[in-house]
Symmetry: C2
DNA sequence: CCGAAACATGAGAACGATTTCAAGTATCAA
DNA sequence: TTGATACTTGAAATCGTTCTCATGTTTCGG
């Protein structure tokens, strides 16, 4: 079933059918004829032919490190809800945490002629910038602040600083369990926020009080062990993620430290586990879903306006104070 | 940059360039000329034109109720890993738990000429079957067993039965907190497994000992409250999901019931929260990621073979016994 | 050295839409 | 009546590939 057959059945030219489909001039009489034929045949125009002709695919490429993550799946949910509304489809590119895949997908999406790209970034190499340069469609980076590109990101630095300062209003001796330092947002900004909070309150932090490792419970456990073996008087533990905090809590319970009386513990992300853990872990709520929505709206605007003035949006946060803080 | 320009620059016909791209006959000499021109220009063939011509898009439509869910995102992760390997891209269709959207997407994907569809189902209406009938590409249903279509699903019934029987080897008076009954797998199969376990052990279960509600912590809390207000001697609580179990545990702690001494509690899904909750909640591990991989492989085989013999794959499970069981 | 098989090439017709252009028909004010 | 304006229509070009043919060229066994 193609447009020619429909045209023949309705006794008009295919141009008229095309106009019918795209609200151009078409008389009431022919309109009705065409409508009837289309209804009877269940005709649906070929999306491929339309794409070839119009250079619009209606696809948005979404590049993510992995979908099986609480924060990322929430961002994607937000992206999906806005894009669905605007009539776009998501072409999902999951890199499985492989940087090279990220670049490969950038190239592949270019070939597939997506109308725009949202990239949930972790860290950016020179190769990334090179690949991004070649992109001809609008691009929005989510969850990371990147020079030269529009982006929506979180105030990791501010949140870490505020949280640390709050904790230090009660605590005296703080340590930080961090994530991989290559990750700009989670790895570095949170650490810097922690350090600056200490600095502004005139607390000295020695290098060995800041560890780092993967985003895992066991990293939290092992790092806490290392820290407390080194210095038993630590009374405030700022962890870069909730999972890490869970691991730390597990270790602290094991050695009989009371939370929060002896040690305060905090995480980041406001995940379900933080509120299920005992004691409930104080954490920072980031508006993941909302940020996904914002990134999607931003992208759609860039596509529509066609004048791509760079925008930068820093999302707020909410500190969630629960049992693990004094 | 199109194939004609490349052909002109390389001094050959566009057919030869096309053959170069699709490994047909082409002499070493011309091969080299074309290679050079393509390298210099950075030419990439238009995916749209290829799709129009070949009727292959390389896209697989994946219809899901929502991405922001532990089990579903794991399935998608599995799907993504296999499809990525096989050179397919995922066209994600998130229905946001709206049945009508599911049908709309089925129709839309048909228009977009995806090469195949994976649908993560919850429950199927007549309209679903009607829409599915019209699908001309291979379709695999994941997480639900459906007549007439290939599917990969979980042994919810068997798991619920085994788990319940195990719990009843210690417990005497069991109750069930279920999910929405329209959901075939989670809502019904788990309930039936629970009921049959009781039946086979000659335990009578009255209707009011089986509640149902949404997949939420608060459902667990409220349902537990209702059940224990009605009968304080319940000593075994089988919950249809981990989240529900968390809510139930929360209520039981509140009224001072000891777990597992006075009440055993179990969940389903082996989510992170189950292992973080205190006490650790006994649960059932389903191979979500693996099942996603299986569904994807199955689909790819159907696409390649082109003979679509229906297959049905029931995935195994693993009961995770922890502190919440005696 | 001949005929068949294998290799190599380009012309041109698809694929199924949109869009430009030119031309034709009402409508209507002057 | 005329000319301008707004509608309405279809022919034909176009988007960028692939693929079928038809036509040549090698290669090679007999």
């Amino acid at each position: 079933m193609n447009i020619n057959e429909i045209a023949a059945l309705a006794g008009v030219s295919r141009a008229t059918v095309s106009r019918y489909l795209n609200n151009g001039y078409v008389s009431a009489e022919k309109h009705e004829q065409i409508r009837k034929v289309i209804e009877e045949t269940g005709y649906q125009p070929s999306a491929q032919a339309q794409m070839l002709r119009t250079k619009k695919t209606g696809f948005i490429g979404v590049i993510i490190p992995k979908i099986n993550s609480d924060s990322i799946s929430r961002m994607v949910q937000g992206i999906s809800s806005v894009l669905g509304e605007k009539g776009y489809q998501i072409l999902l590119a999951d890199t499985h945490n492989d940087i090279k895949e990220e670049i490969r997908y950038l190239k592949q999406l270019r070939q597939n002629h997506v109308d725009g790209i949202i990239m949930i970034g972790t860290y950016f190499t020179k190769e990334h910038y090179k690949a991004m340069k070649d992109i001809t469609v609008p691009l929005v980076v989510l969850a990371q602040c990147v020079k030269d590109y529009s982006c929506v990101y979180y105030d990791d630095y501010g949140a870490a600083k505020e949280l640390t300062k709050y904790a230090l209003s009660k605590g005296k001796n703080a340590a930080f369990i961090g994530a991989i330092p290559e990750d700009e947002a989670v790895g570095r900004e949170r650490l810097y926020g922690f350090l600056d909070a200490n600095f502004e309150l005139d607390r000295e932090i020695r290098e060995e009080y800041c560890t780092n490792g993967p985003f895992s419970i066991s990293n939290g456990y092992e790092s806490a062990k290392k820290l407390f073996t080194m210095d038993d008087t630590i009374d405030t533990l700022i962890c870069a993620t909730d999972k890490i905090a869970i691991g730390a809590v597990r270790y602290l319970k094991e050695i009989g430290k009371k939370i929060p009386e002896e040690v305060q513990v905090t995480g980041f992300g406001d995940s379900l586990v933080a509120s299920v853990c005992e004691p409930h872990i104080s954490t920072v709520h980031f508006y993941y879903q909302t940020s996904g929505e914002e990134a999607a709206s931003m992208l759609v605007n860039m596509i529509d306006d066609n004048k791509s003035v760079r925008k930068e949006m820093k999302m707020g946060y909410q500190i969630v104070k629960t049992e693990s803080l004094r």
